[in-house]
Amino acid sequence: MRMWKTFSSLTIIIVLCAAAAQAQPRSNGFSVVLLVGDTQGTASGDGLPTAAGLRKALSDLKDFLPYKSYKVLDTAWLQGGETRMKGLEEQEYEVEVTNIDLIQPNIATRISGRLNIAFTLQEPGAAMNSSEEYGRLAQAASLEKERGQIQANLADLSAKYKEQHPAVVQLKARLAQVERSLRLARARKLIDSRFEMSPGETVVVGTSKLGGGDKALVVLLTAVAAGGK
């Protein structure tokens, strides 16, 4: 009888915990704002997000990081999953936001109401792992060598023939093809992070060159709560 009472009590507690977890405000999607931070230029608020949460995150960022100006490159709204965003000079980025709890349910984060997030930002075609990266480096070195030879040949041919000459046109096409392959071989995974966030919270995810660099890529990631907060 006593054992039965204990078992009933435990069942009730578990059911209440589950109900409480369900009652927590869950995310309704993610707002992704891609910015470039620059040490040059003057600080101006032109084109920057106006939402209060984003403004606060940007303000905290400006106080903390050495970049003077910030410019919005692209914005996106995601339920979760992958999208492409425009970067500097026609460079595109693949951005992926995954709520890990949907794949691997975790009772701890579920009860706390926090979201377990995996965020990646990479150039299209980036290597999946370090061994593939190593192969890409070797490929890039080979393509750079080929590009140098083509450019030298093109300079010689351009001195002899006009631009419309079939040999010049063919070599230019080959150069464009090699440069495309080179861009693909050099494609990098720039950000690959896992973190927890609360619905309604804005987390800043960024990347820059080690030891400085004039520019940085900054992402303002907001988990929008189910109520639209």
């Binding site: 370090s130 480096l137 080690l210």
Partner: protein
């Protein structure tokens, strides 16, 4: 010669004694059986043989681990770590205002 032999047989005091009676013989036999059962089983005990085998196996294992470790050290000396130029470092911290910042540093990143 045969005379001497005859004399020795005649002089043997045990030859004239009667043998053990059945009761004494039975007692002696029982005592011997009891002693045989309770006595320790010789110099090699029942547990020492498996222990010796286990010891030999452990020694072989240690030897193999030692050789393996040395081989791995040699291999790591030959092969450099891949993709060193793509090194990333990640830092998570919070700004004074409370906003959490997750920053990735790249060794080679030109935007």
């Amino acid at each position: 010669m045969s005379d001497l032999r005859q004399r020795l047989i005649e002089g043997d005091p045990l030859a004239r004694e009667s043998g053990l009676n059945a009761l004494d013989a039975q007692r002696i036999r029982q005592r011997m059986l009891v002693e045989a059962r309770t006595a320790p089983a010789g110099t090699v005990s029942w547990w020492s043989r498996p222990l010796m085998v286990a010891g030999a196996l452990a020694a072989c294992l240690l030897l193999a681990i030692g050789i393996g470790t040395r081989l791995n050290v040699n291999e790591s000396r030959v092969a450099p770590p891949p993709a060193q130029s793509q090194t990333r470092r990640q830092l998570q911290f919070a700004a004074p205002g409370g906003t959490r910042i997750i920053w990735t540093f790249h060794q080679q990143l030109e935007l």
